[in-house]
C-alpha cells in the first residue's frame, strides 16, 4: 500500500502519512458502512486520494518535497480504479525495493530504508535492532531520502539488461539482514532474532515478485534454513552454541523441507548462483544427523563451485574447515595458511577462531591458545568473545 501510494506522491514521508490517514478513515467509515468488498483496494485508493489532496493543497510547497519518480501520473484515472491498483501493487512494491536497495546508497542506508519502507518496521525498532541511537538511525534515513531525491535515484524496476546485477544488489541486502539476524557483529546477544522474521518475509516477497530469477529462490531457501535454527543458536543465558553442538531435533523440519524444494527447483533451472550454492551447503548441514556424520566431501565440492562464482577469502576459509573434516586438521591448516600468506582476513576473527580449533584438533595447544587470544581480541560480539574465552580456558587447564 505504501509502495502504491509512493508512486503517486513521489515522496516517502507524504505517502506514509497518507497511509496512516487511510487507516483512520477506514475505522470510521467501515464502522458506519460495513467492510467494503475489497478492503485492501479501498485502503490503497483512500491513501492515494489523501496523498493527492495533500499534494494539491501543497502545490506551492511541492518544490520542497523530495521527488521519487519523474513522470507525472495521470491522477484522476489512477485514483479511481481500485481493481487495477490491486494488480499493480506487486510492481510498486518491487519498485520500492529496487529504490531502497540501489547500490548508489550506503550499505547501512539500504538496510535501514528497506526495513523502514519495505518491511514497515518503526524507526525505533530498527534502531534497536542495529543497536544505534534512534537519532542516528533517523538521520541515516533522512540523509538517504535526500540523496534519493537530489541524485534522482529512480523508483522503478531496472531495465532487463541491468536486472540481474540489481537483483543481486537486493539479494545482498537481504543476505546481510539474514546473517545479521543470526550473528550481530557488535552486540551483546548473539541472536538478533528480531531481524529473522522481516528478512525471511523479504526473501519470500522477492521470490514471489521475481519468480523467474533463480537466485531469489536460493536466497529464500538460505533464509529458511537460517530461520529453522533460530531456537538452537544460544542457550538460556544467551551463550553461543556452535552448529556442531546445536540440538538438531529442534531445527524446524517444515522450513528445511520448503528450502529443499526451492533448492531443487533452482538447481534444475540452470547453473546455480552464490545464494543457491550457500543454501545447498546449509541444507546438507540441516540433514546431517551430527557434525561428524555430515557429508563433508559434498560440502567441499559445493564450496569449489561457490568459489568459481564468488571467489572470496571467506569462502576459502569455510572450505578449509570442510577440508579438515574430509582429510585431517593439518590439511585444513595448510589451506588457512595459504589464505594468511595472501595477506587476507588478518583482522577477521573467524579465521583465527577456525585456526585455533584446527590447531587444537591437531594436538598443537600452545599455538591454538595464541590463535584464540587473537580471535578474542578481534571479535566485537560479547557472546562470541565469551565462547572463545571458554575454549581458551579449556586449553589452559
Amino acid at each position: 500500500m505504501l509502495a502504491a501510494t509512493v508512486r503517486v506522491t513521489r515522496d516517502l514521508d507524504l505517502a506514509e502519512e497518507s497511509v496512516q490517514d487511510a487507516y483512520v478513515q477506514a475505522l470510521e467509515s467501515w464502522n458506519r458502512d460495513g467492510i467494503p468488498e475489497r478492503p485492501g483496494a479501498w485502503l490503497t485508493t483512500t491513501a492515494r486520494r489523501r496523498a493527492l489532496n495533500a499534494l494539491a493543497r501543497g502545490r506551492t510547497l511541492r518544490s520542497k518535497l523530495p521527488m521519487l519518480i519523474e513522470p507525472e501520473p495521470e491522477r484522476d484515472r489512477e485514483a479511481d480504479r481500485p481493481a487495477e491498483e490491486e494488480e499493480s501493487i506487486p510492481d510498486d512494491r518491487l519498485r520500492l525495493i529496487f529504490c531502497c536497495c540501489n547500490p548508489a546508497l550506503a550499505r547501512e542506508a539500504r538496510l535501514a530504508l528497506t526495513l523502514r519502507y519495505v518491511c514497515g518496521i518503526a524507526t525505533d525498532d530498527i534502531a534497536h535492532m542495529f543497536l544505534v541511537p534512534k537519532a542516528t538511525l533517523a538521520a541515516r534515513l533522512t540523509r538517504a531520502k535526500k540523496k534519493i531525491a537530489a541524485a534522482g535515484i529512480p523508483f522503478s524496476v531496472p531495465p532487463a539488461e541491468e536486472l540481474a546485477g540489481r537483483v543481486d544488489a537486493v539479494l545482498t541486502v537481504i543476505h546481510l539482514l539474514v546473517t545479521t539476524a543470526h550473528s550481530d557483529p557488535s552486540g551483546d546477544q548473539l541472536t538478533r532474532a528480531d531481524l529473522g522474521e522481516p528478512s525471511l518475509d523479504l526473501a519470500r516477497m522477492l521470490n514471489r515478485l521475481l519468480p523467474e530469477e533463480r537466485e531469489t529462490a536460493g536466497m529464500l531457501a538460505l533464509a529458511l534454513i537460517h530461520h529453522s535454527r533460530r531456537d538452537t543458536r544460544t542457550d538460556e543465558s544467551g551463550s553461543l552454541i556452535l552448529l556442531r553442538e546445536q540440538d538438531r531435533t529442534r531445527w524446524d523440519p517444515d522450513e528445511i523441507a520448503e528450502a529443499d524444494r526451492l533448492i531443487v527447483e533452482a538447481l534444475r533451472a540452470g547453473p546455480p548462483g552464490r545464494f543457491t550454492l550457500q543454501a545447498a551447503i546449509a541444507s546438507i548441514h540441516a540433514h546431517a544427523p551430527s557434525h561428524e556424520q555430515t557429508d563433508w566431501p559434498q560440502i567441499v565440492v559445493l564450496y569449489d563451485e561457490l568459489r568459481k562464482v564468488w571467489p572470496t577469502p571467506v569462502i576459502d576459509l569455510n572450505r578449509a574447515v570442510a577440508v579438515s573434516m574430509v582429510e585431517d586438521p593439518e590439511a585444513g591448516l595448510t589451506e588457512i595458511e595459504r589464505i594468511e600468506s595472501a595477506g587476507r582476513l588478518d583482522e577477521y576473527p573467524y579465521l583465527h577462531a577456525a585456526k585455533a580449533e584446527l590447531l587444537t584438533r591437531a594436538g598443537r595447544p600452545e599455538e591454538a591458545a595464541d590463535s584464540y587470544r587473537r580471535a578474542i581480541a578481534l571479535t566485537g560480539n560479547t557472546a562470541e568473545r565469551e565462547h572463545l574465552a571458554g575454549r581458551l580456558a579449556e586449553l589452559e587447564r
Binding site: 519523474e70 540501489n102 537530489a150 541524485a151 534522482g152 535515484i153 529512480p154 541491468e162
Partner: protein
C-alpha cells in the same frame, strides 16, 4: 531530463593518456546519445603539476587536494535518472582510475555581450 556531472579521476596525467583513450573520449558523445542520454559539455584540465592552490592569502604550488588519482576533467550529461546516468558514466574511457557521478545543481555559461 536531469543533469549530472561525471568527474574523471585518472592516475595517468592527461597529456600522457594513451591515444586509444583519447579517441574513445572523442566517440563518447555519440555512444551516450545512442544509449538515450546526451552530453551537454565536456571540460579537460591540465595536470596537478600545473595547478596553483589558493587558501585564503596563501598561494601554493600544486592542486588543492593531493590524491593519487587526479581530477582530469568532467563532462555534463543528461540522463533519465541516476541509474541511467551511472550506465552512461560507465562508458567513460579510463586508463587507471574512475569517475564520480553527481547531480548537477547549477550550470551557467556566460556569453560575451
Amino acid at each position: 531530463m536531469p543533469q549530472y556531472a561525471v568527474i574523471i579521476y585518472e592516475r595517468v596525467p592527461v597529456p600522457e593518456l594513451p591515444p586509444e583513450i583519447m579517441e574513445a573520449h572523442g566517440a563518447l558523445p555519440d555512444r551516450i546519445a545512442e544509449a538515450g542520454g546526451r552530453v551537454i559539455a565536456g571540460l579537460a584540465v591540465g595536470p596537478g603539476s600545473t595547478a596553483t592552490a589558493i587558501r585564503d592569502e596563501l598561494i601554493t604550488d600544486g592542486p588543492f587536494v593531493e590524491t593519487k588519482e587526479e581530477m582530469g576533467g568532467l563532462f555534463i550529461i543528461e540522463a533519465r535518472d541516476l541509474d541511467h546516468a551511472i550506465s552512461l558514466a560507465k562508458m567513460t574511457p579510463i586508463a587507471e582510475g574512475g569517475v564520480d557521478v553527481r547531480p548537477l545543481t547549477g550550470f551557467e555559461v556566460l556569453e560575451d555581450g
